[in-house]
Amino acid sequence: MALAQRTRSPGNGGRPGTTRSHPIPSRPDPDPFVDPVSVALVSLIAERGYEAVEVEVIAERAGVTMEAFHRRFADKQAATVATIEACLRDFEWMVETVYASRADWREGLRACAWAIADHLEEHPDLVHVLMIDLLEAKNEMLRVLREETLMYGARVIDRARAAAPEPEAVPAGAAAIAIGSIAQLLTHRLQKGEELAAHATVRQMIYLSMRPYLGEETAREELSLPRPEGSHLERPAAEPHRHPVPPRPEPDPFVDPVTVAVIGLIDELGYEAVEVEAIAGRAGISSEEFAERFTDKQECVLASVEAYVADFEWTVETAYASGEGWREGLRASAYAVADYIDTHPTLLKVVLVDLLQAKNERLRVLREESLMYGARVIDRGRAEAADPRSVAPEAGALAMGSIGQLLTHRLQKGEDIAAHETAPQLLYLAVRPYFGDAAAREELRMPRPVGSYVRR
């Protein structure tokens, strides 16, 4: 399932014309362009299509044993999702690094476009997989992953809204149309067996992206501007940490008056009844200030929830990093999450209950992605399991699905979540599929780890 970090809008705190409030995500580890399994997987899918690739062939080309493969991944789908997510995280790192080095949005986007053109030319197999093979895969999850990748690009383009002379005149779907056109162009070229010619068309892409925001005349200037200096990104060696702690979102969603207002209003009224005027009114900002930051209510709520999810992931990873190995890390995370739930009960209720009842499909997907982030943290246990091949492919998802259902039911029934009391019970559930019943029972008696007290 799609990563929450993948769909996160780094631009939720954007200010007109600046590039400063888009944190740079950490690079994936292992680097998907070095990791032999990811390299083998991408090249095989590009050659044969997703359906025709088998785990044995991936392991053989990667030069790893089947046991080594299964220690990391439950099956082909899990390996593919992890690889594509790592590639996207790397892509986000590249885009945000280049973007942050520029003075304003327009220069940032121009430099990013050239860096992306380099990336496309350097990794043609990955482009083929993303544009063609994921689209043709029978697997719905992989198609969603492709769509989410494109939507990240759309959100980067849409940062222009804050800098547009007339933000309210920019169509709501301007960025989605621009990215859709670019994706269609790449897909058609690949389907016809033509060269991507990314550098030859990059100026046209920049023009297409900027036109809805800056108007025809200004956008046309892009067709003759030279490549910005320093827009080729040298890649340093991957960071040494296995599960790096992501940066905290800026601004802090518990301080930003807009995100605070969004959660309070959805809790009181439900998503459907919340209006832009009410959000702006409670946040103490004008409708013009609102329009500078968000296209509409949906974008505002999505960005707000994404900021909270990013903060939540920072909390989980900070606690996780305090442990030696998966069990200790998971235990610390579970208690840190219990603190989080006790401190922010409204947020939990909004994400688990109110988003479930929203008409908006993207919000429901966001809820699901938040849960799937938990599933991936749990599934890190696969790497340390005594016999990874005996661990069911969906062990992490099932454990997280059980926990999500349990919390949702308690909230819907108006019962106390009793987060600290339930934490060891949920740890039992999470540990059991990977280490067996005896080890899982130990979790019921383990004291709370010191590293679970996350200081903000």
């Binding site: 479930l356 969906e394 699905g401 059980s402 926990i403 029934k413 019970q425 559930l429 019921l444």
Partner: protein, 225 residues
């Protein structure tokens, strides 16, 4: 004189021989059938009363003669589907004895019911949880019922001693989550495969892997017979 078949005999016109109650019942059925399809295909939150009356081919007044709104309609549908599913389960369990065989027989029957009524399954498993307070409460009550039955398995096994109190609540939630996932992916076709998957999640903690698989195999062979 040869008698005409009953269907062709003269019947009084004007005052219908179909009673008002019977007409009402038929209309109710049309609405319920149409609404089940609308909720399952559009999702409860995205469905409107207009969608339902269009699908049922009735007027707005007729809809509101039976229901206060779409939430009320969803409540009625989920209650009815739950009652029908329960009947199937009871019939399927029959005279089976023992915690595990009864669980297997009931689960298998429930999945057959869901396979035969995919729209109904979607409404109860997915849409009820997104509906109004009554539908949500019914959904929660069904999960609690499953958790309650699972909990009685502790008496049938030594393995369950000392388990955390929330274990069955979470396991029942996990079973519902798995079924929801399969519904969303359109993978409800292989009833026996899905049964084996769900039954293993339910039985294995109480019986251990080998005994759970034996029970599942035996249940499938009984169901096949």
């Amino acid at each position: 004189v040869a008698r005409l078949p009953q269907a062709l005999q003269n019947v009084p016109v004007g005052r219908s021989r179909v009673s008002r109650e019977e007409l009402g019942e038929r209309q109710f059925e049309r609405i319920v059938t149409a609404a089940t399809e609308v909720f399952a295909k559009r999702g409860f939150q995205a469905s409107t009363v207009e969608n339902i009356i269009d699908a049922a081919g009735i007027g707005v007044g007729s809809f509101y003669a039976h229901f206060d709104g779409k939430e009320d309609c969803l409540d009625a549908i989920t209650q009815r589907i739950a009652a029908e599913a329960r009947e199937s389960v009871v019939a399927g369990v029959g005279t089976e004895e023992g915690w595990a065989p009864r669980l297997c027989a009931g689960l298998h029957e429930l999945l057959i019911f869901a396979g035969d009524n995919p729209l109904a399954a979607r409404v109860v498993l997915l849409e009820a949880q997104t509906g109004g307070p009554k539908a949500v409460a019914l959904h929660a009550a069904l999960v609690d019922e499953v958790a309650g039955y699972l909990r009685s398995g502790r008496e049938a096994s030594d393995l369950g001693r000392g388990w955390p109190p929330a274990f069955e609540e979470a396991t029942a939630g996990g079973l519902v989550w798995l079924a929801q996932e399969r519904l969303l992916r359109g993978e409800m076709g292989d009833i026996d495969g899905l049964f084996a998957e769900l039954a293993e999640v339910a039985l294995e903690p109480y019986l251990g892997v080998d005994a759970a698989r034996r029970e599942i195999k035996a249940a499938l062979s009984r169901a096949g017979a």
